[in-house]
Amino acid sequence: MSGGHPLRDRTAIVGIGATRYWRRGESRPRTPMELAAEALLLACGDAGVGVEEVDGFALYSMGFDVSLFAQWLNLDVRFSAMLTGGGGGAAGSVGLAAAAIVSGQADLVASIMTLQQATSRFGAAFAPGDRDPGAYRAPTSVESSFLQPAGLMSPAQMFALLTRRHMHRYGTRREHFAEVAISTRANAVRRPSALMREPLTLEAYLEARMIAEPLCLYDCCLESDGAVAVLTTSAARARDCARPPVYVAASAHGGAGRWGPGITWLGMPDEIFASSGHRPVAEAAWRMSGLGPADVDVALLYDHFSPLVIMQLEDYGFCPVGEGGPFVADGNIRWPDGRIPVNTHGGNLSEAYIIGMTHVVEAVEQLRGTATNQVPGAEVALVTGGPAGIPVSNLVLHR
């Protein structure tokens, strides 16, 4: 352990667990928290630890009822916290776990996401008139009153506005978005856990129905059910676990005030409007880890909408801002031969959408050398959460 940031390399991921994945609603009659417990027990088995040793929870995107969960599994809790915001916190929830461990508040911390989109759907997250308990839809707010009267009700429509501006400003084209969707699908085809295993062609992409132009069906992620758990502990304890440790080199979350809520504001300054909102946290992660984009062997980038993968490639410095479209078109994100293989598990677009936690699982598998689409000799992985309102987050892992 060298000097530098107090979080760097002090903790490691030792266990990963995931339920199977379902199309939305099909995990019923299981309950979301039942799925969470199944994922946690699998992660404990993977790590070679007893579930009773779990003493912390680091959640995000509204989380779940830890009190009831602890009662179910009889777990004594020393740390229970959650990142504010939504899917932007996926990678950052592991950073929160690391912070708890380094500060001595817990020893073995679970980051868990469980999702069941049976009665409510993120796709209509901002639609009016739904006050059902547990629904993802929010009541009309002072802020949404400036958006919703025009019909903006879904993240796809809002990200379409950022995407159109990117196309206008930089000349990005639909064929570039297609490459993200097609390369991600090609990875999913080989992965047994993936929900989408039919290859996607450019012809099929271009003929697909439009959702919110310029986004078509295949630019939008899946709507899935399932749960994923990730266990983090101290670097010292990690070496006694069943699997090789995957060290947390850095994790940053947050973002610029002038990004703020992002898609539910739409007033971001022009120089960052057509971006992922990740530039401040990218810089923080590189500084914290002492690493840079050239050191990364595989990138697991939150892919709710394919153009946002392109914007993250820019914001993390894999290519200059504005050149993400041609960068992907040149084959740079393809597994296994691209300069930086992206979403080798099939991502939110084609494996499953568990609000980004599947990306953490894939990073761990890559760095253990056990991934389905293994990047040969992978040593460093980048995972991102969001793009969304702040906080957005990331995670730099190494073996």
């Binding site: 009153s145 025009a150 206008h168």
Partner: protein, 160 residues
């Protein structure tokens, strides 16, 4: 600024193509945003500016992002602008939207208030002809008594 209310002030009957059905338009306000909505319903387009340092912000919020003052003044601007970005909604995320699709949603910056982005539907032009930087007139679409929302129409020759 032109309104759309028919004679007697009644909103049009039946769904109007290209704009969100009025019954789906929900507007709630607080003491910071109410003056904007009241002015717009009265046919005046205004933007909030910091009373201390002059920084404009939109939508209106309780503090100036530059100097954190709560002093606010309302500056009238000409209801003309250009499209900053737009999307054409082809998929109805809730069923009642289906009958008015396609719905063009644009962000429009008034010429006199760059950076202040209004959100509204673009009407009077085929969705295929809408483009970034297109010049538009900003209209108040009256939804119900006391509530009007932005709507954009391409500026004709000689208008600008």
């Amino acid at each position: 600024m032109s309104g759309t209310a028919g004679p007697g002030g009644a909103a049009p009957a039946g769904p109007e193509p290209g704009v969100l059905p009025g019954e789906l338009v929900h507007v709630v306000t607080d003491r910071w945003t109410a003056p904007w909505w009241e002015a717009f319903a009265a046919g005046r387009l205004v933007v909030p500016a910091c009373g201390a340092c002059g920084t404009r912000r939109f939508p209106p919020t309780p503090f100036c992002p530059t100097c954190r003052s709560q002093e606010l003044r309302w500056e009238p601007v000409v209801p003309r602008g250009r499209i900053y970005s737009f999307t054409v909604i082809r998929h109805a995320v809730i069923p009642p939207v289906a009958e008015v699709l396609p719905l063009v949603v644009a962000l429009v910056e008034p010429d006199e208030a760059p950076g202040c982005r209004l959100v509204g539907n673009v009407v009077g032009v085929a969705p295929e002809a809408v483009a970034v930087d297109m010049r538009v007139v900003i209209e108040a679409r009256r939804v119900r008594d006391g509530v009007a929302v932005p709507r954009f129409r391409p500026a004709g020759p000689g208008v600008l």
